[in-house]
């Protein structure tokens, strides 16, 4: 299938742009950096759309099923005869879909930033980071090898670290960047160990081969990995749970989500790119990529769906209490990704598990558009108001008519009100949940109502409520900020109407879906109720919200403090870990190592300092440790642990 060779250009163009801007940006592209980056990405986007057209409508299908195509793969570092690290491209419906989503949203962000970041001193640096991020994300999406995906996964982490910490003279931004990096790194450790276990049993790192070997429960590799165990759980479950841990870290799933709200310290267009449509869905993408393997292990699926649904609910509750508009959006992202995650984990007793997978990918697709629209809208608002706090806003609909209209469309979409995009994808998810697990279905239903409530709380607080104190001295923003809003709004309107199940399913064969009017009544009614409640509370200024908060008492306070999860982490790391590990180590170093050193320094007589160095016991103590080690090893291995 060499006809797809041109795909390599899609990630390479942003890479070239990164290298150019990174190396020469400050000298030669000080003002044209934005144009250069945007043009490179526009070309990538066009090629992505062309590739999608070719794949879905011309030659992706064989016997009515979309094929996995590997147009090329270069063996890079062969570890042993069967294990080798390859650099390749894997095309299948989800990677093509992600290509389109990533390049398109990134293009919108590039355009939007032309206006938003204008006048920024490190303008060219910003665009070089943006290009690096886009390159790594596109590389991640196209990876044909589990190890290759891990590399790009790390690279995405590094570039998002750079972007979140872009305002590096702001301590909170640097802290947030560090927190995001360390939390996701911690999760990646699980991913790495998971890869090691999977590759050890399946003897391959290549995705298609890995899936083939492990998705058939009768195969040799599957039997081996399922029969080996550790702490009463099979190696298979361990490996999948660890890989999922990596995904959960990147996708900000409970309890690894704590980095996401803080990451809002980055420039707002960056949030639209990283924390709406691309990096945070990488975890969902990873699980989807290995879905045939995951779907043979019920324990792992259950873990995924409950992690997803709990994250969705918790994030929705917290979002209802936050006042920083970007944090509300951050929690809503976490909540929506929770939807995608639990939909992947649904495994109905009867029938195939295709619907959950399809619904999850569908929601990923629609969510990318309306969430990046919301973030960019928030960017325009912050640009106008110079504040992140919704209490500083109100009545903005008069000053920002276009932002108002597009923001409203996005809110309706995320709330799941027909005929906007979010309605269709959420509907499929709920349908899949209804078919397999009623508990999850009800939680998802409640979360849906909460979603409508907090989104419209945001909407009414920003655009209605009290009258604006702002003057019309500056407008909504330059054209470059308006165009992406309009384009994304159009996509939000039409994305839901695509016949998604025709194209993207777990096994490549189209499935039948239909909107069941009776089934839709409950979620839509709940969404409307949430909206009306938000309108009643927040459309006009008053003390109703405060009274409600007082009435809810402890629950409100707990949600406002994000259920104290950050504090729990602090307690564990600072108090428990520090006291149990750090302190003894420090004590040892101070008293045994430094103590002897200080002892030596204290004696400053004129006698040969060399003999002193020996006589003060230091070298003897080294010998003692040495001998102790020999004795311990001997006793242990000769008598105890034969």
């Amino acid at each position: 299938m060499s006809t797809y060779l041109y795909i390599a250009l899609i990630p390479l163009l942003p890479l070239v742009s990164f290298l150019l801007l990174g190396l020469f940006g400050r000298k030669y592209f000080r003002s044209s950096a934005g144009a250069l980056g945007t043009m490179a990405l526009a070309a990538s986007t066009i090629i992505s759309f062309a590739a999608a057209y070719q794949y879905f409508f011309i030659d992706g299908k064989a016997d009515g099923i979309y094929q996995k195509i590997v147009p090329f793969s270069v063996s890079w570092l062969p570890f042993s005869e069967s294990l080798s690290i390859d650099m390749g491209v894997l095309l299948d419906p989800i990677s093509i879909m992600m290509l389109v989503v990533v390049s398109f949203v990134s293009l919108m962000v590039h355009i939007f930033s032309l206006g938003y970041m204008k006048g920024e001193e490190r303008f060219s640096t910003y665009y070089s980071f943006l290009s690096l991020f886009t390159f790594s994300m596109l590389g991640l999406v196209l990876s044909s090898n589990i190890f290759q995906i891990y590399m790009f996964w790390e690279l995405v982490g590094v570039s998002s670290f750079l972007l979140i910490g872009f305002y590096f003279d702001k301590p909170t931004a640097v802290a947030a960047a560090k927190k995001a990096f360390i939390v996701t790194r911690f999760a990646d450790f699980g991913f790495l160990v998971g890869i090691l276990i999977l590759s050890y049993y399946s003897n391959t790192l290549d995705f298609p081969t890995l899936i083939e070997k492990l998705s058939d429960p009768g195969s040799e590799a599957s039997l081996a990995i399922s029969s080996a165990g550790f702490l009463g759980i099979s190696a298979f479950t361990w490996a999948l749970a660890l890989v999922f841990m990596g995904g959960a870290g990147k996708s900000a799933m409970f309890p690894l989500h704590i980095w996401l709200p803080d990451a809002m310290e980055g420039p707002t267009p960056v949030s639209a790119l990283i924390h709406a449509a691309t990096m945070v869905v990488a975890g969902v993408y990873l699980v989807a990529r290995l879905f045939p393997v995951f779907s043979t292990n019920d324990t792992a699926l259950t873990l995924i769906s409950y992690t997803g649904v709990i994250s969705a609910l918790i994030a929705a509750i917290i979002a209802c209490t936050q006042t920083d508009i970007k944090r509300v959006l951050a929690y809503s992202t976490m909540s929506q990704i929770g939807y995608m995650m639990f939909a992947l984990g649904l495994n109905p007793e009867s029938g195939d598990n295709n619907l959950g997978y399809m619904a999850s990918m569908f929601h990923l697709f629609t969510h990318a558009f309306f969430k990046s629209l919301l973030f960019l809208g928030a960017g325009a608002i912050i640009h106008f108001v110079h504040s992140n706090d919704m209490r500083d806003m109100g009545g903005l609909r008069k000053w920002m008519p276009l932002t108002h209209a597009t923001f409203l469309i996005a809110c309706l979409a995320i709330a799941g009100i027909p005929p906007f995009a979010g309605f269709f994808s959420k509907e499929e998810i709920l349908l899949a949940a209804y078919d397999s697990n009623m508990i999850i279905y009800f939680i998802a239903l409640i979360t849906g109502a909460l979603t409508a409530f907090y989104m419209f709380r945001l909407y009414f607080s920003i655009f209605w409520n009290k009258d604006s104190t702002h003057t019309a001295d500056h407008g909504e923003g330059p054209l470059s900020m308006k165009v992406p809003l309009v384009i994304l709004a159009i996509f939000t309107l039409v994305a839901g109407l695509l016949p998604f199940s025709e194209y993207i399913t777990a096994n490549g064969a189209p499935i039948e879906t239909h909107i069941n009017l009776g089934f839709s009544i409950a979620p839509v009614l709940l969404a409307i109720t949430g909206t009306i409640l938000a309108g009643w509370l927040y459309k006009t200024p008053g003390d109703k919200p405060a009274k409600l908060a007082a009435a809810l008492g402890g629950l409100y306070r707990a949600a406002y403090h994000k259920f104290y999860i950050d504090e729990i982490y602090l307690f564990i790391t600072k108090k428990v870990l520090f006291n149990l590990v750090g302190k003894p180590a420090a004590w040892f170093d101070r008293n045994i190592v430094d103590g002897t050193m200080n002892g030596m320094a204290a004696v400053t007589a004129k006698i040969s300092w060399l003999t002193k160095g020996i006589q003060n016991g230091r070298v003897q103590s080294y010998a003692l440790w040495f001998f102790g080690g020999v004795a311990a090893l001997s006793v242990l291995f000769i008598y105890l642990w034969k």
Partner: protein, 468 residues
Amino acid sequence: MNDLLIIMKQELLLTLIIFVLLTLKIAKDMDNGAFLNLVNLLLAINFVVGFLGGMEGMLFNEMYHTNSLIILEKNILNLGTLIISLQSWSWLKDHKHVAEFYILLLCTLLGMFFMISAGNLLMFYLGLELSTIPLAAIANFDLAKRKSSEAAMKLIISSAFSSGLLLFGISLVYGSTGTLGFAGIAASYSADPMQLFAFVLLLAGFGFKISAVPFHLWTADVYEGAPVAVTSYLSVISKGAILFVLVPVLYTVFKPIAESWYNMLYLLSVVTIIVGNLFAIRQENFKRFLAFSSIAQVGFILVGITGSSSAGSSAVVYFVLIYIFSNLAAFGVVSFVSATTGREGISDYKGFYKTNPVLSWVLAIGLFSLAGVPPTAGFFGKFFLLLAGAGKGNYILLTIAALNMIISLYYYLRIVKAIFMDSNDHPIEKLSVPVFPKLALYLCMAGIVFTGFVRYVYDYIQSLSIGF
């Protein structure tokens, strides 16, 4: 006779160089600059000739043997020595005893060559001593610094102690098997208590040289006190040589007690990684920091060795090669900064990027590679070690190792942050790097990129590797 010349080519060439330097020292009064040019040229020739037409074989009743892997390992050590020599240019150009420095240094290298090629415990012991005693002498070469003499004294006394125990172990081996030849030992070794004890003593001797916990305590003092050139030589070349011996000794000579040594290595690697990391976090002196972090690195190498497969063996050689490049990149910058400004604290490096962007990048890439951040070569090295270790299916070991990779990332990153993000009222001034140290840094950078991104290096190593 001709065979002997070719088989021992690397040793003979090195001996020749030593004699040339000795003669020059006695016969002619050369100024330091010319002398250093000559030495570096000779070392470069030595490195290149090492690659030409080697031959496998055994000599002297199996006392000495060589094969393609051993030739490669010696070449790796040659390269490392050359880089260190280039890096120390700034330090040596004003030193009174340059010729002595090189003569002693090359003697230790010669000792390592004999050690790697040993086919007999006696030969191994001789090589080991030849590679240690002159090192203690050159650890004292910062003549004006007390700490340098202290380091030398500590090194020689600790080594003597470890050698004593090692000899005791060797004599027990001889007593119980009646032979010192590797082949003979392999044929008659078993897990009876005396032989296990003898093995523990040998392992402790190895552990001392690679500074595995708890045999590591000399490391920090000696590394801090010795001149940076010696420190980097100790932490890279010495360690590499011992690791090159350790793998075949464990895999072939002590194969009969593989189960026992697997468990011992398991224990040692866990302790070494954890202790190395915990201490590295607290260090404020850059050299001391590198010393402790290199202890943790050895722990990772031990994880790879536990794999007991040809993959384990090739992963170790591959990692040592990468480790040489990465560690010398970091040491190179630190050594240059320390030689020109005398500043060695980590906090001195705050704002280093503002004044020395190129050196900062070299240092950062070296540290990233040491930390194992993809896509630097160090990442592949570590990943292969873990993959080799995974061959035994010991998840506890893997989990500990992977967790520690994150911890180590934290402290490496802390330095990178200091270099790039922290501000400093008195940053290290702008430095211009002379030709030789610059060349060394370029070599390291090229090495990090080349070994990571080009498959032939690993392919070649793998094609030569042994295992069982």
